[in-house]
């Protein structure tokens, strides 16, 4: 046993001194993760190609499946847990997720707004002859 409690390195399933124990449990954990990831991936490919689902809802469903699968990878492959020795890893991850969210939604929001406010291309075309006549 370790004498003191340190933080856990990201990717490690247990603390440094306990690493050499419990390899069969580790294999089981990775295999469960692989199984869940395969199921989620297969569902994504099925949902994108089927005609049984309501088409406008498919992108939202695909996004939900992708986020779930990312969570499966984080828990079963990178061993991110809610334990007290994992607080630093989880906080860094939370900050990363915040920035990713801001960059993606911010870009989409601003660009959609600009697209809506842009003059339609047909009007833009009809402006061109008048501007060339002035010169």
């Amino acid at each position: 046993m370790t004498a003191t409690q340190y933080d856990r390195a990201p990717g490690d399933r247990s603390r440094p001194a306990d690493l050499q124990r419990g390899a069969p449990q580790g294999v089981l954990l990775y295999t469960i993760g692989l199984g869940l990831a395969v199921i989620l991936t297969a569902t994504s490919f099925w949902a994108a190609n089927t005609s049984l689902l309501w088409p406008p809802g498919v992108p939202l469903g695909l996004a939900a499946l992708a986020i779930t699968q990312m969570g499966v990878h984080l828990v079963f492959f990178l061993h991110i847990t809610s334990g007290p020795d994992n607080t630093n890893n989880v906080l860094a991850l939370a900050f990363g997720v915040l920035i990713v969210f801001l960059v993606i939604t911010g870009s989409l929001w601003i660009m959609t707004n600009l697209n809506e406010n842009m003059m339609p291309s047909s009007e833009l075309m009809s402006l061109h002859p008048t501007t060339t006549n002035h010169h």
Partner: protein, 210 residues
């Protein structure tokens, strides 16, 4: 798994907290630093994702994603990368219990599956360029090649890194510094698979279904 949970609980109550215990072991510090790097890499990818999402419909009269993307090829690529992530996990278990042959086996499987992924992707790119769908054709294709190409570049760098690590393991054995580098490699490889999950969903599946 239950045993691990109960000992964790016991440790948390009876032992001093991390801040009272003094500096953390180097393995924890190195892996945490690399975790921060990986998160910043993911932030960079989020900018490329945002660029792709904005330019997705800017095809300039050129080919669209629905006509270009081959879903069965993407499914095989996804399977290769996922299996490679799994064998990489088995490799890190072998490293933790100092099993040299199992480590080499895991590394070879990881390398072969990763190389198969990269070969399929390069073949896909070459087919697209041959059809006239090169990066300069439209804003959509520029964004596509930047995003997917950047991920492919990361996979290529990972393959080179893995080769170097196996050479170091063969020469130096299970030294702490080699183990720390291998831990960083496995973090890198799992993170690439997480990015690919977002990538095949946004680029290939949403691009074809909408």
């Amino acid at each position: 798994m239950n045993i691990a949970v109960t000992t964790d609980h016991f440790d948390a109550e009876s032992l001093p907290s991390a801040s009272e215990a003094g500096p953390a072991p180097k393995r924890v510090v190195v892996a945490y630093g690399f975790w921060i790097f990986l998160l910043s890499d993911i932030v960079m990818f989020s900018a490329l994702f945002a660029g792709y999402a904005v330019l997705m419909h800017a095809t300039a009269g050129g080919p669209t994603g629905a006509t270009l993307f081959d879903q069965s090829s993407v499914a095989i690529e996804t399977g290769c990368l996922l299996a490679s992530s799994y064998t990489c996990g088995l490799m890190s278990l072998a490293i933790n219990s100092r099993r040299r042959h199992a480590t080499y086996l895991g590394a070879v499987l990881t390398f072969v599956l990763g190389a198969a992924f990269l070969a399929l992707e390069i073949h896909e790119f070459a087919t697209m360029v041959a059809l006239g769908a090169a990066p300069e054709r439209s804003a959509f294709l520029s964004a596509f090649f930047t995003l997917v190409g950047c991920h492919g570049l990361h996979v290529g760098i990972g393959l080179i890194w893995l080769t170097i690590m196996m050479a170091q393991l063969a020469i130096q054995g299970f030294r702490p510094i080699v183990e720390r580098r291998l831990l960083c490699f496995s973090l890198f490889w799992h993170a690439l698979d997480i990015i690919w999950v977002g990538l095949f969903t946004v680029v290939y599946l949403m691009g074809v279904s909408s």
